[in-house]
Symmetry: C2
Subunit: 408 residues, 2 copies
């Protein structure tokens, strides 16, 4: 029986058919001119999208591999760093630091809360003298809690210091505003399977000039993740080791689709669909987890009704309604569920999600009126969506503006 | 214009259409039951194919990442290892050791020659006492020279010692005989894009019990490549970080096709096509590079005629005849070319290769009679191919035997 899934985990995200088709193109030589052209195009498109002139390096690995590359290429054993943790991916940074003997001073913020700029300022003030932290490590979008840390404001604070700013934006980049150069982000990590809507297998890492200076001093062992080797290979249109060619080709097609839509439209779509998702959940009396002021445009976590284990709801959604969402990670397992709305996600995907959530909750003996969340979703979306402007003749963009050109 | 390529580099190899199609299936949850079933099936199929009960771990990375995992998981900084180098991939092992502070005692063998068991015995005899090497590192199939080191015989020698035996069989496994358990190989590394005929992105690493004991003592930093984390995740049907899902699905389909053909038939096909390739080259007066006694069944390197730069021949083959072969690596650049014949390769692919090589050589003013190499190829193949036995009723195998059952 044909049972298509509504894949609503926060990554891997839904991959459009044209991207899947691109992924399935015949294999090519990873040292030939076709691949060199692919690398050049990918690099340019990612630099555009990340608003940066910095080097953008593509590493065949998951996002965690990119986080490891960020650390191994800029730090040395015993180096002190200031690490803000407000979820499972902050913990991931901590675990990589530990593995490499990097002395991470953790500042823990309760899961579901954001890292506020004032906290960063206070903690940075303690980092003076010769043993002071050399870098600040922070998660941009905390996939485990649905919180988007206010990176722009945090970067302003960090820029007042001499610290390197290393950002895990694995599940943020591509879906939310991210001005790598304007915000002075030294290392930013993302991954192909998140808002970029390509299959997993490629980590994206940006390196600023300051990050390259740190590379020169860094003594942590690195071979596969050596970013200077990646940069040297890229100058010849290649990678140091055999790349995940099919994922690279898929990512190229994703970026083509994203360029058609435009960066500002994508960011707005993510924000609006996240808003609509939260309103839908609230209409079902499901509490959104975390501080709504910092609600992620990419993933929404929500609490269970009394006496419902999230694992049960997730199982019913999957087995009976072909809708796949994420569970709570670490200490939140069983307590929350997480619905992803990043990448190539539409209003209809969100409506379909609630069209599964409502009957699933009913199966769990929760009081639900058919459509009660969906009307809230549609209403919320209508409020936020741009008034339908008549596009200029020949213009593909619905709002008639070219936000990329406007920014330049 | 439709110009299909004959991709004859030694990896990434040609990927069959059904494998490409599998690669393009809709994305699935990497933490769900479908992926768990995929992992279980992949592990079992690879254990079968590698003739091992050892753990087989799948790491989202190229083969080089797998080599790094082999070292980082079994050794400590300052550990001494005995490393045999007879090509570019032996050099790769050396470079990883250097990056990690592993003290590799190199034994260099001229490129194109094999590492002979007697040499291994002599060198091992020097490794006594408390500073003795803890491990022997060796390349199985040296992709850069077309030499297959006699691993079975080497492993017999190493087994007389207490050393860990770490093998890069990235471009060997799947195409040549490899009995991981019988030969006592502690760590074996391969990669999806070589003889397995899947897209690149997945490294395959086997770990013996002895290798796991070495893991316990190992202090090299590891996080992304931490194989114990991979083993723990595998027990739950998952991977520690997001895997290259589409490549995993492609590899599953490759393994299905390989199981249809059968391990012995695949090994014989590689051997026979390699033999036919060498005869074809010789018919064109092109000298096969390296010691023919150890000629690789997976890749053949050959020297150029006088006054021909290999880079020119490679360019003409690519631009005018849509045939993509590899060049010389490192010190052999310009001197040799390398034609891959591993994975899903047929007699017709080899014939097509010579159907491009002949006119390309003619374009380079070499004396060539049309078909002179192809008749040699077909003749050589006819000599080696099994006499067409009538298959037993209902048996799919051409030779009527079940080598896997026979081995058990």
């Amino acid at each position: 029986m044909y049972r298509p899934q509504n894949l609503r985990i926060p990554g891997p995200t839904f991959v459009p058919q044209t991207v899947l088709n691109a992924t399935a193109r015949p294999m090519i030589n990873h040292r030939g001119p076709e691949f060199a052209a692919l690398m050049a195009g990918l690099t340019r498109a990612l630099q555009d999208y990340l608003n940066t002139q910095n080097d953008v390096l593509l590493v065949t690995a998951s996002g965690s591999g990119g986080m490891e590359a960020a650390i191994a290429n800029t730090l040395s054993s015993g180096d002190r760093v200031l690490l803000f943790v407000n979820g499972a991916f902050g913990e991931k940074f901590a675990s990589i630091c530990k593995a490499y003997g990097v002395d991470a001073r953790r500042v823990d913020v309760p899961w579901g809360r954001a890292v506020e700029p004032d906290l960063v300022r206070d903690e940075l003030a303690k980092e003076k003298g010769k043993d002071a932290a050399k870098a600040v490590l922070i998660t941009h979008n905390e996939t485990s809690t649905g919180v988007l840390n206010p990176l722009r404001e945090i970067s302003e604070v960090v820029r007042e210091s001499d610290k390197l700013l290393i950002v895990d934006s694995i599940s943020g980049a591509g879906g939310v505003e991210l001005l790598v150069d304007d915000w002075g982000l030294d290392v930013v990590v993302s991954a192909s399977q998140k808002a970029w809507g390509a299959p997993p297998g490629v980590a994206i890492v940006t390196m600023s000039e300051k990050a390259w200076k740190a590379y020169e001093r860094s003594t942590l062992p690195k071979s596969y993740f050596d970013l200077r080797a990646h940069k040297a290979a890229l100058e010849k249109g290649a990678t140091p080791a055999t790349p995940a060619v099919s994922v690279f080709i898929g990512l190229q097609e994703s970026l083509r689709l994203m360029a058609e839509e435009g960066q500002d439209a994508i960011i707005k779509r993510h924000r609006d669909l996240a808003h609509a998702t939260r309103r839908g959940l609230q209409a079902l009396n499901l509490a959104v987890f975390g501080d709504e002021r910092y609600a992620s445009p990419c993933v929404t976590a929500f609490r269970m009704p009394a006496r419902v284990d999230a694992r049960n709801l997730i199982r019913i959604l999957r087995d009976d309604y072909d809708t796949v969402i994420g569970g709570g990670q670490g200490r939140l397992e069983g307590q929350i569920a997480r619905v992803g709305h990043m990448g190539f996600v539409t209003l209809q995907d969100i409506v379909a999600f609630f069209g599964a959530l409502e009957p699933a909750l009913k199966d769990l003996n929760q009081p639900v009126e058919p459509g009660q969340s969906i009307s809230a979703v549609l209403r919320a979306y209508a409020e936020t969506a741009a008034p339908p402007a008549r596009p200029a003749r020949g213009a593909a963009r619905r709002d008639g503006a070219d936000p990329v050109a406007a920014r330049r």
